[in-house]
Amino acid sequence: MKTIIGWVVSFFRFAGELGVFASRAFRDLFRRPFEIGETVDQIFEAGLRSVPLIALSGFAFGVVLSLQTRSSMEQFGAESMVPQAISFGMFKDIGAVITSLLVAGRVGAGIGAQLAGMRVTEQIDALEALAVDSFKYLVVTRITACVIALPLLTTLLDFSGVMGGMISEMIVPGGMPAELYWRDAFAPMGWSDYVPSILKTVVFGFIIGTVSCYLGYTATQGATGVGRASTRSVVYSSLLVILSDVILVKLIFFWFPE
């Protein structure tokens, strides 16, 4: 019983502190000085270095999606639905979440570990001692990088998925030619299936960046703390991404009701 209350209390404390941290980050996002150079570095780390992972995962995912939907659609003579199933699957439904989870795993863990490491070796204090606003220098730049990188990576993953599906469809027996596939994949889509679900990853990027930075920036307890910040960054930001997706999907449906 006591431990349950303890959990509840620590949960709310975590939520509260994270909220304060997030609002500070959000406020500082628009305040000078802007750490442009450092932001470029972080986009390089979070965005560019994720490109191979994201492109490959998207491609593989498209192939799997095509094989699976094909086998079930075939029973109905509805093979013509395969491209649409893939494009909607990638663009509208899970592309954004998959990208976010992959980025949470790769970038979130990195941020958590790096900042925690800097915290416990007093590098963050050293920045402050050198008259640098460590929050802006370390946290705001990383969150900005995630916010910028995620929609771009999501677009990449979505298109890689559709490409993967296309190539798989061209190869499997009874598949369809690329031209037809391309048309069937995109013709049923509207901008409202495309734009909101890519733009919503801005929020996911903010979540991943904020949660990982928070856990790293406030880490304690030496080397153990570094490892813990790293794993927690992945777990918490993944969870929050999925939760917020539930809310965002509802919101998007509210604004673009079809």
Partner: protein
């Protein structure tokens, strides 16, 4: 600290990502006619059948645009008002008499609105409201379809029983006419195998639909539909509908089916029903004749069974079509014609048999026929050889293409010419059917009197002509 190349690659990343995003915007936009020219027409439906804004619009089956908006009716009794955005290049095809329907791509594919091409003399549709045809109800068709299958099965059981009884009686009474029995047996076997095929078809439908309720059923847009179908099949399996019910079912089915190009099953089921009646009669006559049975009664029985067999063949074909129609709509679209024996001469003149036959051979009737005791014609041995020789031109296209046997006669008055030419055609068809194992549905007869079609270059003919066309 930050090398030039890092900045460069981050620039490439951001610009590349944005470019990809823009490509997506453009591709989707162009498929949605955001950029190209399009015009808007309207149509009203009582039910939109899960159509949504953005669903495809096709003109005579070709992708032509999408639904721009759906106005919900203000009041009960009013219809949904659909705004159809159609690509500019279809403007000439969409006329005020173009009919719109809601259709499905594949069995559970996305719904779309199809605009039939209008007639050339109707004015162009400039923002007009097109007439619509209510969506075709798949559930209803399935219900009727499975009812039909059940009726057909029971009819066949009936027929089978009668034939069995007839043969039993026949063999017990007239054991001396072995030859006739020998002739009858294969026909009965054919009937049985046809019946088996029918049962198989019915089962295939049932299995296919039950499947629809299981795993794959999740893909059905309408769960209720899957349930309906399952119930229907369960009922159908229990119902032993009699032939009368069958024709009633069929009557209601005809109206919905005909628009969807199912064959006229009504006639064949009715035929089958008749057939069992005729068998009754035949058996009755046969029994009445008793020990005095002669060759005529035996021959009559033989004929009846042969006709029954033919009717079974038609039925098997029809149920095959019903089955296909559930899973792959448009089975008969591809065939493009129905029962050849049902065509009138006027209709016949409009078909490809007359207009552009693939193969046409002329056979003069010298030495071809011999008259049987009952006055009907039959091919002589020599005639069979002649027909065989002439068939060599047709054989490469068999057995999947339809063949028409035209009969010609120059003797007597027009009514006599008609009857005799029909007899000739029948005799040849009977031979072809048994000798070349041709599907009765693909083998028609046409009594032509003494009037060969005009484009053949012949002004008169006596004998037969075999015509084959390649179906699509």
């Amino acid at each position: 600290m930050r090398s030039f190349s890092k900045k460069f690659w981050v620039g490439v990343f951001i610009v590349g990502g944005l470019l990809l995003f823009t490509v997506g915007l453009y591709v989707i936009g162009s498929y949605n006619q955001v950029f190209g020219g399009h015009f808007e027409v309207y149509t009203d439906f009582v039910s939109v059948d899960t159509l949504t804004k953005g669903a495809r619009v096709r003109v005579s089956g070709m992708d032509a645009g999408q639904i721009g908006a759906i106005d919900v009716p203000r009041n009960a009794g009013n219809k949904f008002h659909l705004h159809l955005k159609v690509d500019e290049k279809f403007r000439q095809l969409v006329r005020e008499d173009s009919v719109t329907t809601i259709d499905t791509a594949g069995m559970v594919g996305a719904k779309y609105v199809d605009i039939k091409m209008g007639s050339a003399n109707s004015p162009l549709c400039n923002g007009c409201t097109l007439p619509s045809q209510a969506p075709f109800d798949m559930t209803a068709l399935m219900k009727q379809g499975s009812g039909l299958v059940t009726s057909v099965q029971s009819t066949i059981d009936d027929v089978h029983k009668h034939v069995d009884a007839a043969i039993d009686n026949y063999s017990s009474i007239a054991s001396n006419v072995n030859g006739v029995i020998g002739q009858v047996r294969p026909n009965v076997q054919k009937i049985t195998s046809n019946a088996a095929q029918l049962t198989g078809n019915a089962n295939a439908i049932a299995v296919g639909l039950r499947h629809g309720q299981g795993t794959a059923g999740k893909l059905l847009t309408d769960e209720e539909m899957a349930e309906n179908v399952a119930k229907t099949i369960a009922n159908a399996n229990q119902t032993s509908a009699n032939a009368v019910q069958a024709s009633q079912n069929v009557d209601s089915m005809i109206s919905s089916i005909q628009q969807n190009d199912l064959p006229d099953v009504h006639a064949t089921v009715a035929n089958a029903k008749d057939m069992s009646g005729q068998l009754d009669q035949a058996v009755g006559t046969f029994l009445a004749a008793g020990k005095n049975s002669n060759e005529t009664t035996a021959e009559a029985l033989h004929n009846t069974i042969q006709q029954a067999n033919q009717a079974m063949g038609n039925l098997a074909d029809d149920t095959e079509a019903v089955k296909h129609n559930f899973f792959l709509r448009g089975f008969f679209h591809r065939r493009g014609f129905f029962n050849l024996s049902d065509i009138s001469r006027n209709q016949y003149a409009g078909t490809d048999f007359v207009k552009k036959p693939t193969v046409r051979v002329w056979i003069p009737d010298t030495g071809l026929f011999t008259m049987k005791p009952d006055g009907t014609l039959e091919l002589t041995d020599q005639g069979q050889n002649i027909v065989n020789q002439n068939m060599s031109d047709l054989v490469p296209y068999l057995p999947h293409n339809p063949v028409m046997v035209e009969g010609y006669s120059e003797t007597g008055l027009p009514d006599q010419q008609y009857l005799v030419s029909r007899q000739k055609a029948l005799a040849v068809r009977t031979y072809l059917q048994s000798h070349f194992h041709l599907n009765s549905k693909l083998l028609g007869i046409m009594p032509m009197g003494n009037h060969p079609p005009q484009n053949t270059g012949k002004s008169e003919w006596s004998g037969v002509s075999l015509v084959l066309i390649k179906s699509r």
